[in-house]
Amino acid sequence: MEVMLELFAFGFYNVLMPVNILAMVVGMLIGLLIGILPGLGGTMAVALIIPFTFSMEPVTGILILISLYCTSTFAGSITAILFKIPGEAPAIMTILDGHEMAKRGQAGKALGMAIFASTLGGVFSTICLAVVSIPLSTVAIEFGDAEYFAMAVMGLSVCSGIGGKSVLKNVIGAVIGLFLATFGTSPISGTHRFTFGYSGLLMGITFIPAVIGLFAISEVFEEVERGLKGGQREGYKRQEKVRIGMPSWEEIKYLKWTFLRSGIIGTIIGTLPGVGATTAAFFGYSEAVRWSKHPEKFGTGIIEGIAAPETANNAATGGAMVPLLTLGIPGSSVTAVMIGAFLIHGLRPGPMMMMQQEKLVYSIFAGYFFSNLLIILAGVLGIKFVARLMDFPYHKVGPAILLFAVIGSYAINNSMSDVYVTLAFGFIGYVLKKQGFGLAPMILGMILGDMAEVSLRRALLLSNFDPMILITRPISAGLILFAILSLCYPLIQKYILKGRGKEELASS
C-alpha cells in the first residue's frame, strides 16, 4: 500500500511538470475541437497526433493522447444537447434528455450536468483503474460469447421503457433496429446480406450517419412543419443566461446512486474488449431508466437522463485502459490506436510493463485524473463558444444543422454513401416519430444487434448448438435472469398494485 502511494505521489509530481500540463491542455483543446465537430472521432484524432508525439518524452506524448481521448468523449455532448447532433458516438444517449432541456431554455444546466457527470465518471474510473485494474481485467477475461449475448439481452430488456408512449411501438422500434443491424457483410461467414449489389452497404448501415439522420434531420423537418414564425420556432424559449449551470448540492445528493451505478457500469463495460464508451453510455442510461422511480419521465428532459450516460461514457475511457495496461489487449478502438504511441517509444503494454515501468504506469493514472479535471475547463470554453448559437433565429440554426449533418456523416469515411444513409434515415426518423414509434429503442437495437447475433451464433457453434450454454455459465445465467426479472417487473408491480388497491377498497 505504501509503495502504491509513493508511486502515486511520483505520478502526480511527474504529471504536474509544466511541460506535461501544457501537453494535457493541448490534448484537451484538440479533443474539444474534435468532439464538437461532428464526423471527426477520437480514434482518428489519436491516430493523427501519434506521429507528433514521437520526439517527446513517452509520458508527455501519452498524456496528450489521454487528455484528447477524455475531452473528446465529453465534448460530443455539447452539440448533442444544443443541436441534437452527437459530436461523438458516446454522446448519442445524451441527445434524448439533453436536447429536450435545451429546448426548454435550460441548455446551460444541461451542459453543466454533462460536464460534472463526465468529470465524475472519468475520475471514478481513474480510481478504479489504479486500485482494481488487475482484478477487473481477470473478470473481463471471463466474458465469453454467452456472456456477451446475455449482456445484449439485458440491454434490450429495457426497450419498452424508453422512447415513445406505446410499449408495443417501442419494442417494434427495437426489433427494427436489430433487423437494420443485419445489413451488410455477415460478421461470421462474410456473406453479403441485403446489400442489393450496392458497395456502400457492404459494411452495413453506418451507425453515426443513421443516428444523425434519425435525430438531427428529422428534427429540422418537424420544426419546419410546425411552422417558423419570422424564422423562429414556435414555443421555443430563449436560453437562460448561459452560465455553466453546475448541479446544486441537492441535485448531486439526489443523483448519487445514478452517478455510482453509471460509474461502475461504465468502468466495467470499458474493460470489456470490443465494446466502448458508446455501449457504456447506453447501458448507463438504460439502467437509470430501469431503477428510476419515474421511468416515464426519461426522454422528456430530466437531468438523470444526462447524468447517467455522461458518467458512464467517461468512466469507460478509464476502463478501456485496464485491459491495455494489464493484459496488452485494447478495450476500445481509441486504446487500440494508442498502442501505437506506446510502441513508437519502445514500450509494450501488458503485464511486463505493469511490473517494469511502474513509474510510467502511475503517471498515466495521474494523467487520467488531471485530464478528467480538465474537462471542466473544456466545458467552459466549449459552452461559451457554442451555447449562444441556440438563440440564433431558426433560419440560421436549421440550415446549419442540415450542413453539419451532411458534412458530419461525410467526413467519417469520406463517403457519399454515408450521406445517403443520413438522408434516408432523416425521412425514416420523421415518419416513425409521426407514427409514435420510439427512435431511442431503434438505436438500442442497432447498437446491440451485431453483438447479439455474433455472440449467439458463436456461442452455439462452439457448444455444438446446445442452447444450454447460455444458462449454464454463471455470469451469463445471472444476466439473463436479471433481464427476465426486469421484463416481468412492471407486470408484477401492476399485479401487486392491483391487489393492494382491492384491499384498500375493501377496508374502506
Binding site: S189, F194, V224, E225, L228, P393, V406
Partner: protein, 161 residues
C-alpha cells in the same frame, strides 16, 4: 387506422426481406445456423409484433364511440416541409456533380429562405460564411477529401483544395 396501415407495411416489408433471406448463399461449415438464421428470427418477431399492433388498433377502433369528434389537428406547414425535403434531396444528389462547396452555398441560401429569412444580403453572407468555414476546417485543416464535382466545378475545386 394509422396503426393498421403501419402494421400492414411492416408485415409487407418483413415478408419481402424474408424472401431475400432465402437467396443467401449457404456457406460450407455454416449449414446448420447460417447467415439467414438471425435476420429470419428477427423478422418473425417483427411480423408477430405487427400482427399484435393491427389487432390492438382494430380492437381500439371498435371500442371508440362513433360520431365522437376528436380535437382538431394543429395547423401544420406541410408545403414548407415538402419543399425543405425536396431541396434536401436535390442538394445531396447535386453534391457529386456541383462539388461540395458550390452545392452547399446554393442549398444554404434556399434553406434560409424556406425557413423564414427574406433578406437577400443576409442570406448570401450567412451562406458564404458557413461554406468558407466548412472549407477552412474540413478541406484545409484536416484534409477531408470533399467531393469536387465534375466539369468546371472540378476545376474550381482543384484551385481551392
Amino acid at each position: 387506422m394509422n396503426n393498421i396501415i403501419a402494421g400492414l407495411i411492416l408485415i409487407g416489408l418483413s415478408i419481402f426481406f424474408f424472401f431475400l433471406t432465402t437467396q443467401f448463399p449457404i456457406v460450407k461449415g455454416y449449414q446448420q445456423m447460417g447467415d439467414a438464421f438471425w435476420p429470419r428470427a428477427v423478422l418473425f418477431v417483427l411480423i408477430g409484433l405487427s400482427v399484435v399492433l393491427i389487432l390492438q388498433a382494430w380492437v381500439k377502433g371498435k371500442k371508440k364511440q362513433p360520431g365522437k369528434k376528436t380535437s382538431p389537428e394543429k395547423t401544420l406547414d406541410r408545403p414548407a416541409l415538402f419543399k425543405t425535403m425536396g431541396v434536401m434531396i436535390v442538394y445531396i444528389l447535386c453534391i457529386p456533380y456541383l462539388g461540395f462547396l458550390v452545392s452547399t452555398f446554393l442549398a444554404l441560401i434556399v434553406f434560409s429562405y424556406l425557413m423564414g429569412d427574406r433578406k437577400a444580403s443576409r442570406m448570401m453572407y450567412f451562406s458564404l460564411g458557413m461554406t468558407v468555414a466548412t472549407y477552412l476546417i474540413f478541406a484545409l485543416l484536416i484534409y477531408t477529401a470533399l467531393p469536387r464535382g465534375v466539369w468546371i466545378f472540378k476545376s474550381l475545386s482543384n484551385l481551392l483544395y
